[in-house]
């Protein structure tokens, strides 16, 4: 049936070039048989009547002109089934846990077609993560893509796991699952996640894709696509609410850069390909809720900012696509605050649709806005105090300065297993806001002050 070609003319980095083939489709999956009997897989990047360029997922090590190349005639597909839950697969979808091959219910193109914006249902179901700086001030909703922007050595993994453990939609018992995709993280980090999943029983409801640091970088380009394909399948065919954790997006982008360089493309900013925005969008945009379907795909990915620089192309392009970001701060971490989330550069763009009366509480937005304003001003004042001393501050400013400390100490700081309900979170908010003179609460409607301010409310 399918023909094997031995017409490789050039091998360079992760790429190989072939000649004299029958017409080959763009994006086709390619099987490569090495002289030593092993096989590799690749994908067609450029195809013409004269030459075909293939990127080889497992790297081109061991390839030579003797290698046989078979074109599969189709794009890369993932065999999907509900039985994937509880399984651990490689970054390209092969079982790693010694279990049987997945008996597919379907085979789905991993690139995923774009969701018609007309079919999207604006996400609005509040997910309680139990973490105040998220629930209170950067609320996550079902179907959102909200990454953690972190830095090396910061506790982003702990935060992600705490969220995976605690996340729930209050009052809802609908089935949910976790899809976890590791891209270029270390074995140790991966173990850390796996152990936690096992301990909490989450593994039974999880599909794990592992591409570790010592796995080929090119494979990383398909790992997240495999994971998202599995997630969409569980969400839209099996009505599950799926939380997708992709880590680390930075490693993924490095792989993209490497591929771009191998293809001798004109590089964009800091050497990353000019199409990185579009490429990242093809991952992030695969979150959402579809009208008339029960499941949803929520993305909570991890991205370590090189040099803690939020303007670096990786966090920058991500921030332009995702629906906000949770920023982990080295400064707060050094102060011993867990979770060290700096709310100021953090944002949840879908917060407004997920909070308020009937969802969380009527005063939620006002409390959040007021805390932001106070904390931002308080932090500025810290800078001033360092120069002119506390005495030079007006009474008003001193109060605000103290508020910033309270905010970090009581609102931000919480235990690794402390699962605060949204009521608890808002209560902490009011407790610290009530330390400010009431005239400073300009962001809060009087009716909420009457209803919730500790000095006013009747009980």
């Amino acid at each position: 049936m399918t023909k094997e070609y031995k017409t490789i003319t050039e091998i360079s980095g992760p790429l190989m070039f072939l000649e004299k083939t029958e017409p080959v489709g763009y994006g086709e999956l390619v099987h490569i048989n090495l002289p030593d009997g092993t096989t590799k897989r690749g994908q067609v990047l450029d195809t013409s009547a004269d030459v075909v360029a293939v990127q080889v997922f497992e790297g081109t090590g061991g390839l030579n002109e003797e290698s046989g190349v078979v074109f599969s005639g189709e794009t890369i597909k993932l065999p999907v089934s509900k039985d994937m839950l509880g399984r651990i697969l490689s970054g390209s979808g092969e079982p790693l846990d010694g279990g049987p091959r997945i008996v597919p219910e379907d085979r789905v193109d991993v690139n995923g077609a774009s969701m018609n914006p007309y079919s999207r249902m604006p996400p609005e179901d509040f997910i309680q993560t139990g973490i105040s700086t998220i629930d209170g001030t950067n609320t996550l909703v079902r179907g959102q893509k909200l990454p953690i922007f972190s830095g090396s050595g910061l506790p982003h993994n702990e935060i992600a796991l705490q969220i995976a453990r605690q996340a729930k939609v209050p009052g809802s018992e609908e089935p949910f699952a976790v899809v976890f995709a590791a891209m270029g993280i270390t074995n140790e980090e991966a173990q850390y996640f796996m152990e936690d999943f096992e301990k909490t029983g989450a593994l039974e409801r999880a599909v794990v894709f592992l591409n570790l640091a010592d796995d080929p970088a090119v494979e990383r380009i398909i790992t997240p696509r495999m994971a998202l394909t599995a997630a969409e399948y569980l969400a839209y065919e099996h009505d599950m609410h799926v939380l997708v954790i992709l880590t680390d997006i930075t490693n993924y982008c490095e792989a993209l850069r490497q591929m771009g360089a191998a293809r001798e493309e004109v590089p964009g900013r800091r050497g990353y390909p000019g199409y990185m925005y579009t490429d990242l969008a093809s991952l992030y945009e695969r979150a959402g809720v579809i009208k008339g379907r029960k499941g949803s795909v929520t993305q909570f990915s991890i991205l370590t900012m090189p040099g803690d620089d939020i303007t670096h192309p990786i966090p920058d392009l991500s921030g332009y696509i995702t629906e906000g970001q949770i920023v982990v701060s080295r400064e707060l971490h050094m102060k011993g605050i867990y979770p060290p989330i700096n709310v100021l550069p953090s944002l949840s763009r879908l917060m407004n649709s997920g909070i308020g009366d009937g969802k969380t509480r009527d005063d939620h937005k006002a409390v959040s806005d007021q805390m932001y304003a106070g904390y931002a001003e308080g932090r500025d004042l810290r800078g001033l105090v360092a120069i002119v001393g506390k005495e030079a501050l007006s009474d008003r400013d001193q109060k605000i300065l103290e508020f910033a400390d309270l905010f970090e100490d009581r609102f931000v700081r919480q235990g690794r297993d402390e699962d605060r309900s949204i009521e608890d979170t808002l209560q902490v908010g009011w407790d610290i806001l009530s330390e400010l003179p009431e005239a400073l609460l300009t962001r809060i409607d009087n009716k909420y002050i009457d209803k919730y301010h500790p000095a006013h409310k009747s009980n």
């Binding site: 007309y118 303007t311 931002a376 030079a392």
Partner: protein, 576 residues
């Protein structure tokens, strides 16, 4: 004529065997994917394909339509949501489900829908290109003028009246030319007009910092650059919701799907402040989100502006929002790099600046061929990498547009919204619109506004001193300036787009708010001169209460209560 595919590399396909013209639309492959010829070289031509090319092989057939990329113009555009090449997303959903498949064509205008056509010319009349020959009530408040195609003129032989579909003939000329309610226009070519005017009227947006400090004129151009999360989209949506414009064309160019879904959800529910009708009835949406094909993203802004021109020609004031023009520029860059063109600055093609100015040049206040006065206001969001305004798209845009709304990440972080930096933003229309403001808002509006701007400038200088010595070290009159500026920022400039009342602020209310702050300022000044301690002036309660009047449903009453209290409080202090 039939050709075949020679090479496929992502969205760029090389074809051979046919001789197309530049910008011809071709269908490539067995599935007939739509594309546009963007380069011709010897016996080969390069095509940018508007759909995903996975699995497409060399040797597959290519068919040339011989036509340039065009949009269909006629009744039924309003309330539609299109992709970048004017395929209705609703029809695509019906044909292929929730995910966008490929190889599916869909007409921009519904061929089945029937419209009531009322002629405005009679047989024997001579008609020229662009002239109105009849009208259709497209939505409750928009009368759609059926115009002759700009290139057709003659004498009316027969004109019909009654119910027709868009492609049925409603008018026949003596030379046999048949005219229907629908015309096609190539998107890359501006529609002709009689003449252009200097814009003289403001676009009233109900956003205090825009109307008050940096107004844009109807027919003008504005850019709103800012890093992610600084408020580009919210501002554009606010403009789409509240501007006193007749028609809105909103282009989601390479941005989020959920944002478009949000607009689709919200606009039918919200009321046009001018007519009380659902906003959707005056809106056309173009959604080519970031995960949709990049070539169609490049086309989407042209599709949008052509539709805007069409309504302008009927005599309407149209506003067009492009969110984000940077994604359009990047689409150009991506295609250019696949063509292996010589890159210019930061990899953008050398023609970036030319394309941007050609686009913004399609804005303007005009007299159309139909002898109507209409306008297109273009507002482009710009997404500079790392928030750095020195990059090519921002810089090239600023050379063209007349209004610059500079978003600032620091303001956004402290939740000062809209995060428009009042120190670096500008409007070149401010002077030209002064007469209009004096006549239509209040005679003292302009001096009030100029004074506020002046104080805000002073504040930034004073802040530098405060950073060194603390505010207590400042003389009292300067402390007062700081306080007035805080009020200007918090009570006037800050405006919450998500507050049911504050989201839209009529001019009258803007004026009264500014006037109230100015009144406190005057009285405080007088008290200070009368030797009253600063501490007492600052602890006036009504001053703090003024913070919340903008949120009151019954603004006038609330303001009166506060201002009366202010009079009393100052009187009690003695100085006034």
């Amino acid at each position: 004529m039939k050709g075949e595919i020679y090479r496929v590399a992502g969205p760029v396909v090389t074809i051979m065997g046919i001789k197309p013209k530049m910008y011809d639309v071709v269908h490539v492959g067995h599935e007939g994917l739509m594309g546009e010829v963007i380069r011709i070289e010897g016996d080969k031509a390069t095509v940018q394909v508007y759909e995903d090319t996975s699995g497409i092989k060399p040797g597959e057939p290519v068919v040339n339509t011989g036509m340039s990329l065009s949009v269909e113009l006629g009744p039924g555009l309003l309330e539609s949501i299109y992709d970048g090449i004017q395929r209705p997303l609703k029809v695509l959903q019906e044909k292929m489900g929730d995910f966008i498949d490929r190889g599916v064509t869909a007409n921009g205008l519904d061929r089945e829908r029937v419209w009531e056509f009322k002629p405005t010319v009679s047989s024997g009349d001579s008609v020229t290109g662009g002239q109105t020959i009849g009208v259709v009530q497209e939505t409750e408040n928009v009368e759609h003028k059926i115009m002759m195609p700009p290139t057709v003129s003659g004498t009316v032989e027969e004109i019909k009246s009654g119910k027709f579909k868009v492609d049925e003939t409603v008018c026949v000329l003596t030379d046999g030319t048949e005219v229907s309610m629908m015309q096609k226009w190539p998107v890359r070519m501006p529609r002709p007009v009689e003449k252009k005017f200097i814009p003289r009227k403001p676009l009233i947006t109900g956003q205090r910092i825009l109307d008050g400090l940096f107004p844009v004129a109807k027919g003008g151009t504005a850019a709103i650059p800012g890093p992610f999360g600084s408020g580009k989209t919210v501002t554009q949506q606010q403009l789409a919701k509240w501007s006193d414009t007749d028609i809105v064309v909103y282009i989601g160019c390479g941005e989020r799907g959920n944002e478009m879904a949000d607009v689709l959800n919200e606009f039918p529910e919200l009321q046009d402040p001018k007519t009380g009708r659902p906003l959707m009835e005056r809106t056309v949406l173009i959604a080519n989100t970031s995960n949709m094909p990049v070539a169609a993203r490049e086309a989407s802004v042209y599709t949008g502006i052509t539709i805007a021109e069409y309504y302008r020609d009927m005599g309407y004031d149209v506003s067009l929002m492009a969110d984000s023009s940077s994604r359009w520029a990047e689409a150009m860059r991506e295609i250019s790099s696949r063509l292996e063109e010589m890159p210019g600055e930061e990899g953008y093609p050398a023609y970036l600046s030319a394309r941007l100015s050609e686009f913004y040049e399609r804005a303007g206040a005009v007299k159309s061929l139909a002898a109507e006065e209409g306008s297109i206001t273009v507002i482009g969001a710009v997404s500079p990498p790392g928030g750095d305004f020195s990059e090519p798209v921002t810089q090239n845009t600023l050379r063209i547009v007349k209004v610059f709304w500079a978003l600032d990440a620091k303001l956004a972080q402290r939740r000062h919204f809209p995060s428009i930096d009042w120190l670096t933003s500008y409007s070149l229309y401010t002077q030209g619109l002064s007469d209009w403001f004096a006549e239509n808002v209040a005679p003292d509006w302009v001096p009030l506004r100029d004074h506020a701007m002046d104080l805000l400038q002073q504040e930034s200088e004073l802040q530098e001193i405060v950073q060194l010595v603390g505010s207590d070290a400042l003389p009292e009159d300067q402390q007062l300036v700081l306080e007035i500026c805080r009020m200007l920022r918090e009570y006037f400039l800050q405006q919450n787009a998500f507050h049911p009342v504050d989201t839209y602020c009529p001019f009258d209310k803007q004026y009264k708010l500014l006037k109230a702050i100015s009144k406190y300022s005057d009285m405080a000044q007088a008290s200070l001169e009368a030797g009253i301690p600063m501490k007492d002036i600052l602890s006036i309660e009504s001053k703090d209460e003024l913070a919340k009047v903008k949120f009151e449903e019954n603004f006038d009453d609330a303001l009166n209560v506060v201002m009366e209290k202010m009079d009393k409080e100052f009187a009690a202090l003695g100085g006034n």
